[in-house]
Symmetry: C2
Subunit: 385 residues, 2 copies
């Protein structure tokens, strides 16, 4: 377990707050943990860059062995392609209005894969492809847990969509699924069961396509919890996961990381107190932490985040219990701290671990990446669509 105990604290003290801080050794630990697991399981790994939206982070993932990336917007695809990544899966259902942007990327040399789960969209893709002479690489989204989009493995629509694509001249690239419901569990047994359901469902869909004489080279599954819980990945060719790169309190509650693996935090300054209530007021409100309250229904509710000292070590029992736009309310969980003013004087720098790294990161235009020796580096982050 890499530690950041010896990070240059002086350099953190010069940052304006609130600031999003990446603990680079922890991030690299997380990247290597996931990549080595994927290598052991014998599958390719395609990280979802929607978590970081940051080319420096994606480069570290690719340097560690990732083959291509997953994106959540076409703006991400364009940004990461500009940075040299060519193998990109846009993992949100394609619609006609977004095909021109997808075409533009492919014409520039991007090996962009797109996704569909309906005959209507498949028809739009092949019609547009025919009109512009483009052979789109299309994957069919499979629903293995009922949480969002996709065609269930046994549905007739699976073959209908596949035939529209295949007969319409598109490349039928494979099937993909995402077991987002894995976030709802917190035992190894339950996570392993969701992972097996995700694997088996996606493999079954691929088998149905192949049995019908249709191509299905790729079988792509993944979420951070299932990627870390799967007992085996027989029949799967690649895995996708996003939040593992930073982890967060939601993932900690799910049980797939320790708090010592959380690589993203928000640096904040104590700006006041309500001493009688045991509150310190910090300059990280919901604009900095995001409104994500993902731990609210989990086994432990961390409010708007776990309070840490500037060196990243946890202050047990202290969380952000409330948040206004630019004000966070820091308090002790069980009973008010009568010594709150002395414990956290005005001007104290603290770091807050977030509930959900994808949501918190999105509030910031850039990260400050810290390493044991040396100044923080500024890593820009993509914003918007």
């Amino acid at each position: 377990m890499t530690s950041i105990r010896n990070v240059s604290l002086t350099s953190l003290q010069t940052l304006e707050t609130p600031a999003a801080v990446i603990d680079v050794p922890r991030m690299l630990h997380n990247i290597h943990r996931m990549q080595s697991r994927m290598d052991t399981l014998g599958v390719r790994f395609r990280p979802h860059v929607k978590t970081s939206k940051c080319v420096e982070v994606a480069r570290a993932q690719i340097d560690a062995g990732a083959t291509g990336i997953t994106v959540s917007t076409l703006k991400e695809a364009a940004r990461f392609f500009d940075d040299g990544v060519t193998d990109i899966l846009y993992a949100v259902g394609m619609v006609a209005s977004k095909l021109p942007a997808a075409l533009a990327l492919r014409r520039r040399g991007c090996d962009l894969k797109i996704v569909t789960d309906s005959v209507a969209s498949a028809q739009a893709i092949v019609a547009f492809g025919a009109e512009f002479g483009e052979t789109f690489d299309v994957w069919i989204e499979i629903d293995t847990d009922g949480h969002r989009s996709g065609i269930r493995p046994e549905e007739d629509a699976l073959l209908d969509v596949a035939r529209v694509l295949h007969e319409g001249g598109a490349t039928l690239g494979g099937v993909m699924t995402h077991a987002g419901s894995s976030y709802d569990f917190d035992t190894a047994e339950a996570l392993a069961a969701v992972a097996e359901q995700e694997r088996a469902g996606c493999v079954r869909a691929a088998t149905r396509l192949r049995d019908a004489g249709l191509p299905c080279p790729v079988v792509s599954v993944g979420s951070t919890p299932t990627a870390l819980a799967a007992a085996h990945l027989e029949g799967v060719t690649e895995v996708r996961a996003g939040v593992y790169v930073f982890f967060d309190l939601v993932m900690h509650n799910v049980g797939v990381c320790t708090t010592g693996e959380l690589a993203l935090s928000v640096l904040t300054t104590v700006i006041g107190h309500q001493a009688e209530k045991g509150w310190a007021i910090v300059d990280a409100g919901w604009m900095a932490m995001s409104r994500d309250r993902g731990t609210h229904k989990q086994k432990r509710d961390f409010g708007y985040g776990q309070v840490c000292r500037i060196d990243g070590s946890i202050v047990p029992g202290y969380t952000l219990s409330g948040a206004n736009q630019e004000h966070g309310i820091l308090s002790r969980d069980r009973e008010p701290d009568a010594d709150i003013v002395a414990r956290f004087p005005i001007g104290t720098l603290l770091r807050i671990m977030p509930n959900h790294a994808c949501a918190t990161g999105a509030q910031f235009p850039e990260y400050h990446a810290i390493v044991p020796d040396g100044d923080p580096a500024v890593w820009p982050r993509l914003h918007g669509w």
Copy 2:
């Protein structure tokens, strides 16, 4: 009541989704509604630009009669000062580490006012002012409802802080309070009572300062609900409010606006369905809507937002009932809609009214401002700190 029925729908159809759309006639209606009320009550009005973070919006507020603005970050102060606004209140408690940025703004000619509620910060302000030869204009934050920061009107600390500032050479500019707890009520009587508590508490603090021989020219109060509910504002010199400029579903539940006054919405495209569940999947997930679930505990829970047609008219009973990062789940509130595919075919453009305009706006780098005739204008929005 201004309507947008005759907005150019063709121009909306060319926007990439998701997109943040401002209905300009509605926004101007809201601005004039609030300004005329302030004029009638005989107070100056200082809108809080944290809601829009957009110079075009602030210009409309100033054109309508606002005297100065309120900001939530020093980055906002710098941006709006660059645009020509000089009278700016930074309404978050000042700390030593932010004084250099405040000094830089004042040295450039910005009439920046800062806020404190502690002896420690007051001492830091006067020490820094003495060191750099700057006379800061400081307002004391008053706590009139216990929801966040500030000194209660009868606390000894009020005079202690005021004397540190006054004797230390700062300009004691006044007192300010924000009754954020007003968001928790939804009857005219309760809102009027919170407004009176806010007014009376802040005036009482001013009276205590003046009785002690200390200056207190400004008495500044405000929140959108209390600004709209106050029976009178005797003793108050100025009011601040932010979200009224767009309003949102939270404010609708509070009871201070109709849905016809909501000026901000998110344009989205239907990208898929789960027909058996009665779901349409749209490309506005929580990254577009924000994670704000402010209506969850109110009298009506709108999920992640109210569904509207492209012309802005409401589709009654349909909300975003769930959200992933780039996927929204649109469903009928009471029972699944068996006709969801026909009602909202793939490619359909819809607009979603947000729970909280400040949070939803923050997810976008720019707004698309629509007027009855003509193309949407792109209005940039400030992001980060």
